[in-house]
Symmetry: C2
Subunit: 334 residues, 2 copies
C-alpha cells in the first residue's frame, strides 16, 4: 500500500519510486515501468495525510457561506455556486469542504466558521463575507491562506473577488419597469450592510434619475430581515406609499410581496408591476410568471474556483471579476 512496499517489490529506492509517481527528476524507462506495474498491482494510493504533512498542502479548498433559517431559497443559490466550484475542481485533484454560518449578516459567526478552518488545514477559502465591513479583513489575513470573496465585496479590499453586476441588474430592472409605463417605482431592497444591497440600491437610484423621475426616499424600503413575512409587510407598506411598480432585490422578499399583492387583490402587472431577483424554474409557473434579474450562480462558483487555483499555483494577483446579470423577461413587469 505504500511507496516503501513498491520499493521493495521493484528493488528500487523509495526516492525513485516517489519520482516516478509524482516527482520531476529523470527516471529510466525500465525503472519507471517496474514501478508503475507494481503500483498497479497493489493498487497503490498515495497517503494524503503523509503528503500533506510533507508538503504542507491539503489539496482542499473550503466554501464558506451564510445560511438563514427563514430563507431556504437563498441557500439554493449556493448550491449552484457549489456545483460550479465542483465542476472546475473535477479537472484537478482538489476537494471542496463546505462550511456555513448562521444569520447572513452576522460577522462574528462568519469569522467563527473561518476560524475552524484555520488549523493550517485548507489551502484556500472561498468566502461569502457577512458584510462590507473591512474590519474582518485583518482577521482573514491572519489566517494565512488565500481568500477569494464571492458574491459580496468588502470595502477597500484587495482580496480577489467574484460577484455579479448587481448595479446593472437593478438598473435594467427599474428601466424596464419604466419602459412598461410605471411612474412610481419603489425598491424593496436588502440591507446595505452587504455590497449586493448597496449596489442594487445604487442601480435603482441611477435608473430612477436616468428615467427622468425624481428620487424619493419614501419609495425605498431596505429590509432588515429576509423572510416571507418581511416581504409581505414591506409590500403592503410600499403599496400604501402609492407605487405602481416594485423592484424587489431579494427572492424571498419577492415571494412575500407576491403573496401579499395577491391576497390584497392587486393585479400584477396591471396595477403594480414587479421584478424580482434570481432565477428559479418555479418562477415560470406562477401567474403571472415572474420577471427577474438573473445572476450566474454556477459560473460564479466556477470562476471563483479558477481564481483560487491560480492563486494556489503561486500567482499572487488580486483579481476582480464581475459577472454579467441579465433580465429574464416574463410577465410580471408590465
Amino acid at each position: 500500500m505504500t511507496i516503501k512496499k513498491i520499493a521493495e517489490m521493484t528493488g528500487l529506492s523509495t526516492a525513485t519510486v516517489s519520482h516516478v509517481l509524482h516527482g520531476k527528476r529523470k527516471v529510466s524507462d525500465i525503472s519507471r515501468e517496474k514501478v508503475l506495474l507494481a503500483a498497479r498491482e497493489i493498487d497503490y494510493r498515495p497517503n494524503l495525510a503523509a503528503q500533506m504533512l510533507r508538503t504542507q498542502k491539503s489539496n482542499t479548498i473550503a466554501l464558506v457561506f451564510p445560511t438563514e433559517e427563514s430563507n431556504r431559497n437563498a441557500n439554493y443559490f449556493y448550491m449552484d455556486v457549489l456545483l460550479g466550484i465542483r465542476k472546475k475542481l473535477w479537472e484537478t485533484d482538489y476537494f471542496v469542504i463546505v462550511s456555513n454560518y448562521g444569520a447572513s449578516t452576522d460577522s462574528e459567526r462568519s469569522l467563527r466558521a473561518v476560524e475552524l478552518l484555520k488549523k493550517q488545514w485548507v489551502d484556500g477559502i472561498i468566502l461569502v463575507p457577512s458584510s462590507r465591513n473591512p474590519n474582518q479583513l485583518t482577521v482573514l489575513r491572519e489566517i494565512g491562506v488565500p481568500f477569494v470573496l464571492l458574491d459580496r465585496r468588502v470595502d477597500g479590499s484587495d482580496f480577489s473577488c467574484v460577484d455579479s453586476d448587481n448595479e446593472k441588474g437593478a438598473y435594467e430592472a427599474v428601466s424596464l419597469l419604466a419602459r412598461a409605463g410605471k411612474k412610481k417605482i419603489g425598491l424593496i431592497g436588502g440591507g446595505i450592510r452587504v455590497s449586493t444591497g448597496t449596489s442594487r440600491y445604487n442601480g435603482y437610484q441611477r435608473a430612477i434619475r436616468d428615467c427622468g423621475f425624481d428620487y424619493e426616499d419614501k419609495y425605498v424600503i431596505l429590509a432588515e430581515t429576509y423572510s416571507i413575512e418581511s416581504g409581505r409587510i414591506n409590500a403592503r407598506e410600499m403599496l400604501n406609499r402609492g407605487v405602481d411598480g416594485m423592484f424587489i432585490s431579494d427572492n424571498v422578499l419577492t415571494m412575500g410581496a407576491f403573496l401579499e399583492l395577491n391576497s390584497l387583490g392587486v393585479k400584477i402587472p396591471a396595477d403594480v408591476g414587479i421584478i424580482g431577483y434570481d432565477d428559479f424554474d418555479w418562477m415560470n409557473m406562477i401567474a403571472p410568471p415572474l420577471t427577474t434579474v438573473k445572476q450566474q450562480a454556477y459560473q460564479m462558483g466556477y470562476v471563483a474556483a479558477e481564481m483560487m487555483l491560480r492563486k494556489l499555483k503561486g500567482m499572487d494577483v488580486s483579481e476582480k471579476v464581475m459577472l454579467d446579470t441579465s433580465i429574464v423577461m416574463r410577465k410580471s413587469h408590465g
Copy 2:
C-alpha cells in the same frame, strides 16, 4: 505553533504536552496549567495532517450525490440534506467534503466519484446511490470506510440507510386524490431503477386497490428522463389516456406537467387534480398552489450524520431509518 514548541517553553516533554491537549493519562495540575498557558500564548492549533498520519483518521466525511443538468431543483434537495449534515457536524470537529456525480442513474459515474475518495482519506461516506443494483455493494465494501446510504436504498443491502417513507407518501397522495372525487388516477413516476421510484410506484398501486379501483397499466408512466420537457410529454400522454387525477412523483416532472396542463387549458384541479413531490416555497405561489408530498430533507441529512458519527465511534450496527413523509395540503388536488 507545534507541540514541540510548547514543550520547549514549558520545559516539559512533548509526550506530556500531547497528553494535556488530547491524551488520557494523568498529568499534574501544575504541568497542565503550564501547557495550557503556553498553548494559548502561541495560539497553538494541532496540525491535522500530522494527526491524520498518526491516527489514520481524517475527521472528514463525504457526501456524494447525483446531479443532473436538466434538473436544478433536484440539486436543491441535496442542499437541504447538506445543511442537515452540517448542523449535526457543527457539534463535532468533523468536516464534510462534497462530491457529486453526473446523471443520477449512472452507476459507473457514481463509483468513480467514490473512487476518488478512496485515497484512505475520508473517514466515512454518505452516499446517494445511483441505483438499487446491489452489484455496487462489493465495490463499496472494498473501499473500507463506513457507508451510510441516503434517500435511496440498495436491494438486499446491509448498509445503514436513511430514507423517506416514499411508499406512504405515494399512498396518501393517491388516496387524497380519490377522496377528492377523482376516479381515474394516473402515476407519472420516476424510473424504478432507484428505490424511490419503486416505493412510490408500490404506494400508488396499493392505494389504487385500497380505494376500490382496478389497477391499470395504462394509467402508469415511468419516466426515463427527468426534465421539464419530459414532464410535459408525459402529462399530455396521460391526458390522452383519460385520467382525471395525476400523482407525479418527481418535482421537475411536476413542473413540466403543470406547464403543459396550463397551456392546454386544462383546469387544475377541476378537470384534473395533481399532486407533486417535495416541498418548495414557490409552490405556494403558483395558481393553484401545489399539493405535494413532503420529505424531510434536512432531517435526513441530520440523521445520516448521526448514524455516521455512531459508526465512527465504533458501533458497528446497521441501521435503517425511514423518515416520515407528509402531505402539504394546498389546492391542486381537488
